[in-house]
């Protein structure tokens, strides 16, 4: 009895330490965002500001075209996530259920490309896009990110776990490949698809290097790029910088909390699948 309580206490302790480590930077960001300029650099650090300066948010928002950045980020994130979802579903189905010459070799080659670091591709991709005349346009921000080998791999594995008999049954019931994919496979793969969407949306929302390289005008910046240029413009006004950062990550935190249930379900299901 005592032993059980002790081990439970230990588990909680570890979990609490972990979550404190995870949450402290966020808490610090938020606290800083509502401090007065004087409190920001104070030593020892101020944990609870004397009065909450919510107007920092208003000020930060008005100092740069954040509305424009937000719209850009939303457009890029939504379109590249939807696009990737479509390409992933189609490719995963082809690689798991259709039989064509060279399928497995092609898939191995695709997996091989995962070993190429993204940075190596920056210059060739930039050159390609600039030859296409897409620099500083939405195409440049979206189209190179419409497919992800990792997602295809993840979904293909999930599809392989779905019994072959289902596709036979569907075929006899009068379902063609495409219909079977959308009415049977996709609903069954919901947990995997949500994981893919979440990873993609967060990645796309936070991506910095690529948007920085392919955008030039202020109107095309996404939030992370806008935030960096804002930091040079705002100088050392950390409270404003933190207020802007808090605003930027909020949508992803909300998305995560909405989909969290499915992710846990997806992972749990993957564990007990026969």
């Amino acid at each position: 009895m005592q032993r059980a309580a002790f081990s439970k206490g230990f588990i909680y302790l570890v979990l609490i330490i972990g979550s404190v480590c995870m949450l402290l930077p966020f808490a610090w960001m938020f606290i800083t965002s509502i401090k007065s300029p004087g409190e920001v650099m104070m030593m020892p650090p101020v944990w609870i500001p004397e009065d909450f300066k919510w107007e920092n948010y208003k000020e930060a928002w008005s100092m740069a075209p954040f509305a424009r950045y937000t719209i850009n980020s939303i457009i890029v994130t939504v379109l590249s996530t939807l696009g990737e979802l479509v390409t992933t579903i189609l490719a995963a189905y082809a690689f798991s259920r259709m039989h064509f010459y060279g399928r497995d070799i092609l898939f191995s080659i695709l997996l091989g490309t995962m070993m190429v670091p993204g940075e190596v591709l920056l210059i060739p991709n930039y050159v390609t896009l600039s030859n296409l005349g897409w620099i500083d346009q939405y195409q440049a921000l979206i189209i190179p990110w419409l497919a992800s080998i990792f997602s295809i791999f993840l979904l293909r594995q999930f599809f392989l776990g779905i019994p072959q008999e289902l596709s036979y049954a569907a075929k006899i019931d009068g379902c063609n490949n495409f219909r079977f994919l959308w009415t049977i496979m996709v609903p069954l793969a919901k947990p995997a698809l949500i994981t893919i969407v979440l990873l993609k949306a967060i990645g796309s929302w936070n991506s910095f290097l690529w948007p920085l390289i392919v955008t030039q005008s202020k109107e095309m910046r996404t939030l992370p790029v806008g935030l960096t240029s804002f930091s040079t413009e705002a100088g050392i006004n950390y409270e404003l910088l933190m207020a802007a950062s808090t605003m930027i990550i909020l949508p992803m935190i909300i998305l995560y909390f909405c989909l969290q249930r499915y992710i846990i379900e997806g992972v749990a299901k993957a564990g007990i699948k026969g």
């Binding site: 019994p163 008999e165 289902l166 036979y168 049954a169 569907a170 075929k171 006899i172 019931d173 009068g174 379902c175 219909r179 049977i184 609903p187 069954l188």
Partner: protein
């Protein structure tokens, strides 16, 4: 719909899974495809369903050649071993699915699906998901889904193998009832000879892709065409005793003993290749006596007596050949007793030791 297979073969890479099958199935019959695993019975079923394309040969449904007809246009329903129900759909949606694909108006489809559900007695489970059902109930849903399009042919791929023993008997009676009620031509794949015997109009027995015998179940049991069929059908398995045939006296002598028996059954002499044969007798076809002087019988020493309640299984040896005989429960016998065994009239089989063919002439 009558089904006809002509020289149907299926090759996977270098393996001949089905070799030159010729079968004719009458309208409304329930036929079992029987054989040990890997004998090509499921492959044959998948070819009938259109899921595999045969390497050669022809398949006729009615008078139509269906080799190149897509599965959905063959007018078939199929039940899979793991039922293959769509897990994210309710029972009703599962049954309606084939109709939805055939663009039947929603209301009509629902009516038909409910009618089918009632036929298979799951009308009260329509809102459940497959996961919330027992194996037997899932089975019924799968049958309803297979039948809802009113197919001409129902294909069942080992439908009972995932059920426990009691449910298996219940479901096989149920399948027979539904089949008779709908009057649909049905092909049933199984590796269980008892299952095949109990529900089929006819049994098609295969081994290693080769056709063995196609006949009524009782006929297959009473007159197996070769040793494989004889051994495959029946439990306890048929006794096989090596004997030497005496052409002059039409008698057999059990190898390694002096025991002789007269053969009264008519033999097909064209098939006889030598004098070495195997005497095949089913356990229940022996008549045991403890008295001396019974004509046309042989002696054996009792080794073991197994009582199963309904009857008694006697293990005995003649020469060095083990024999199993089923006797009435009030026949009292002890190990090391000597008993006299005779064979019931016309219940003996003689297999050629070389060709393994049954030499006894059948009924026809």
């Amino acid at each position: 719909m009558k089904i006809q297979l002509k020289e149907l073969s299926m090759k996977f890479d270098d393996v001949l899974a089905v070799n030159g099958l010729n079968v004719h199935i009458n309208k409304g019959e329930l036929v079992s495809l029987l054989g040990p695993s890997g004998c090509g019975k499921s492959t044959t079923l998948f070819m009938l369903a259109g899921l595999y394309k045969p390497s050669s040969g022809e398949m006729y449904f009615g008078d139509t050649l269906v080799n190149n007809v897509e599965p959905e246009n063959r007018g078939i329903g199929m039940v899979f071993q793991n039922y293959a129900l769509y897990p994210h759909m309710t029972v009703l949606k599962n049954i309606m699915f084939p109709l939805k694909m055939a663009k039947v108006p929603h209301k009509k489809a629902e009516e038909k699906a409910i009618e089918m559900a009632n036929l298979v007695q799951i009308g009260h489970l329509l809102d459940r998901k497959p996961k919330q059902l027992s194996g037997g109930q899932q089975q019924r849903v799968a049958i309803a889904r297979a039948l809802v399009k009113q197919p001409q042919l129902l294909l069942l791929d080992e439908p009972l193998s995932n059920l426990d023993a009691r449910l298996r008997i219940e479901m096989r009676e149920e399948i027979r009832r539904i089949q008779q009620e709908v009057g649909i031509t049905t092909i049933f794949v199984t590796h269980d000879q008892e299952e095949a015997m109990s529900i089929s109009d006819k049994v098609l027995l295969m081994k290693d892709g080769q056709f063995q015998q196609y006949s009524k179940p009782q006929e297959m049991y009473d007159h197996p065409v070769n040793m494989f069929v004889g051994k495959f059908m029946g439990n306890p398995p048929i006794n096989m005793i090596p004997v030497t045939f005496d052409h002059k006296n039409l008698s057999i002598q059990i190898n390694g003993t002096d025991e002789k028996l007269k053969v009264t059954s008519k033999l097909n002499y064209e098939l006889v290749s030598g004098n070495q044969m195997l005497l095949g007798v089913r356990a229940e076809d022996f008549v045991l006596e403890k008295l001396e002087g019974i004509s046309n019988s042989f002696s054996a020493k009792v080794d073991l007596v197994e009582r199963t309640g309904r009857d008694t299984l006697v293990h005995a040896t003649v020469g060095n050949h083990a024999i199993r005989a089923l006797v009435n429960q009030d026949f009292v016998v002890k190990p090391s007793n000597i008993v006299k065994l005779s064979i019931r009239k016309n219940r003996l089989q003689l297999f050629d030791a070389e060709t393994e063919l049954n030499l006894v002439l059948g009924k026809e």
